[in-house]
Amino acid sequence: MTPSIIDLTNCEREPIHILGHIQSYGYLIAIQPDTYAIVHASDNIVDLTGIEAAQLLGQPISKLLTGTDLPGSTLIEILNVVGRNESWESMNPHRLHLNGKYWNLIIHYYKGLILLEWEPIGNDQNLSINQQLIAQALSEVQSSRTLDELLQNTARRVKSIIGYDRVMVYRFGPDWHGKVVAEEKDDDLEPFLGLHYPATDIPRQARELYKVNLVRMIADAGSVPSRILSKPGWPENQPLDLTHSVLRAVSPVHIEYLKNMGVQASMSISLLYRGELWGLISCHNTSPRFVDFPARQAAKFVSQLLSASLEFRKDKEDQTNLLQYQQTGQQLHEQLLLSDDVVRALTKLPITALHVTGATGAALLFNNKVYRLGATPDENAIRALGDWVGATGTESFLETNQLPNLYPPAETFRAVGAGLLTIVLSRELNEYLFWFKPERIEQVTWAGNPDKPVTVEDDGTRRLSPRKSFAAWTEIVHNTSEPWSEAEISVVVKLREDILQIVTKQANEIRLLNQRLQLAYEELDAFSYTVSHDLRTPLSSIRCYTEILVEEYGADLTPDAQALLQKVIDSTDRMRQLIRHILYYSRMGRSELDTQPIDMRQLLDGIREEIMVTTKDRLLHFDIGETPAIKADPTMALQLFTNLLSNAAKYTQLTTEAVVRIKGVQTDGEVIYSIEDNGIGFDMKQAGKIFDLFKRLENARAFDGSGVGLAIVKRIVNRHQGKIWFHSEPNQGTTFFVSFPVIPAT
């Protein structure tokens, strides 16, 4: 059958554990554990026992050996012993002499059946050699300094044990593609060291079997496999499961693969790391070669030793990294706690966020600002990356070693950021911490083109087949970085918690401060009210009674007493004015803004009239020019211009002909009013104090005033997001400028 659509999952779907055949160098029967009745037998069993497989099916095991020189009871005894101990594999291999030849019997129990497999025995001498090799391998594992050295030495040991032409250590990548990382071979063979193989070369179900059955041998790729026969009706549609079989036949696809490589015999030994397939020791021989069970066991032992060592080494390496990253993370945490400033703690001190991973660049996007450390994409790219991460819906962290494949714009900065690890500080505020790893431009030498697994046969049918050519095919692996380790991820995830804790703490502190501010405002309200009423009332009484004294008893008082009473009256006056101004000042800070367009001509004319009424007998001239409208709170605008114009009037008192010029200019973004007088002016050196509450300039002492008026003006300008500035020279007059934004803040 030719599937209409061919893809590599065909290969994945092949049920290689129930192929229904065994390799023909051995023999298989399967029996029921309670009755020892035969339910499966390999077709070639006749070669071993002289009895056709079909005649054995359904028969008791004693029937099996009737054609041989070995009593059937021997086999039964063996089964009884191993069955009693429930350790079917403890006696493997059991050596049997049968019709003048020695055989290894290998027994295992799986899925309700006992499988018996016979295979030839090798050279007895091997056994002691193997034990020596194992001992050497053990010391090797202890002494090899680097992983490469260890793998290379292991390859050499395995080659000595099994005697194949070529022994390779093949390591799986995270995407299950494989790379030859060590090789021991005969000199005449072409080296495969460094070659990469696509993941499809070893399909998923094969990898699963490698995890269960650690040693796998194909003694002769060219031999014809022997079919497994089943007792009629046993069990319906259920072929024998050969998962643990040592003789299991090889998938035709794999046989073709081997033939293409010129390989006649192969053996693989699994290398596991934490129960997962880490790699394989893959052995090839150009001619058929059988390796007997004890030698395979020795090789398996060496591989287990290596697996254990891998775990130990990798764990140690991970531990060292994790410990180092954790220490750095801890230091960052302390910095965060001490400085209470996330940006400073993460980017400005000797230990930075860059140090918690193996990244070569890090960037913090916080408070709408970008802070970069090491080699990173530019600021715009980082902002765009933040937008993208936000759009991915990432809740806490995101990790990739192929950023450009997820996020195409990253291709422009792959040299610094092909790998990205990011933690989300706030999606709402677009705040992230990023780590970058550069592109690992890797000269990968593929064993064949991984993109072309389908071949077209001469007859035009398409079929899946292993590649015909093993000429090295090179691909530059772009857009990929070193992967992020678990240690790196765990440390940044912890760091995220630390940062969020600080951010939350600060948010809470601000909330508390706000609550306290609210309280303070309420108290200030109450205080203002007290000032406005309760303080002013007794003050009025003092004032009124003093006036009554002067009025009703003035005649009886000496001139000195009269003058003293007048001082009381003046002081109450001054105090009343102060109280009123403080009230205005606080009112200007808190009351709601009711912003609206203001007719400035009307406002200024009104103020002029008021001032003119109170400044009789003076030559005071107000020159009002252009009056573009401003947008402001009417009460506050009135207060502001009243203060500025009264000041101008006040500080021109000594001028014989006082002129105050007021005009407005409208620009694109603002309206600027200038109020120019020809009064006493002031020294610009004192200008810094002019808007301070209660601060008065030296040359203003002779004039009435509380030092609150300009503070009120400043407050009003601030409330409207405006600006105020001035120019003055002593005795040359002063010009104040106030600007209001065209679109006022609400």
């Binding site: 002013r536 003050l539 009554i548 009230l583």
Partner: protein
């Protein structure tokens, strides 16, 4: 007949008011109530004044900042009562806070006068007030 009914809980202010009225020398009659509730009792002929025929003043001069019932409360309850709905009431307050002024008008005050804080100025204001409210103002009287 009573000309001015003044609600004022500060005895000094009441005293100064008395002095100034006497100084005007126009035989103006007045009564000072030192609490809002007493004033209300009087105006609505209740409590102490139940079963009595009280005389409505030509002007109710109302301090707004009172202990107990506030000036605003007195104002609202006076307006809610048929007999005194149209009684001329002038607020006489220390506060020049626009908010206070606005709420007084919203509650139905007829005029709002900020206490000047000086004897002479208060005298001048009172003189004008008496002139206007006692001489020129036309009232609706409910008997």
């Amino acid at each position: 007949m009573i000309d001015v009914l003044y609600v004022e809980d500060n005895p000094n202010d009441a005293d100064i008011f008395g002095r100034l009225i006497r100084k005007l020398n126009r035989s103006i009659t007045y009564t000072v109530f030192s609490s809002g509730s007493e004033a209300l009792d009087y105006l609505r002929e209740q409590g102490r004044y139940e079963q009595q025929k009280t005389t409505l003043p030509k002007l109710l001069l109302l301090d707004l900042n009172l202990d107990g019932l506030s000036g605003l409360d007195v104002l609202e309850q006076t307006r809610a009562f048929a007999r005194t709905r149209y009684l001329p009431i002038v607020a006489f307050s220390t506060s020049d806070n626009p908010k206070d002024i606005k709420s007084a008008y919203e509650a139905g005050i007829n005029a709002y006068v900020v206490k000047p804080g000086s004897y002479q100025a208060t005298g001048a204001v009172l003189e004008k007030m008496c002139d206007f409210w006692l001489e020129n103002n036309t009232r609706i009287d409910y008997k």
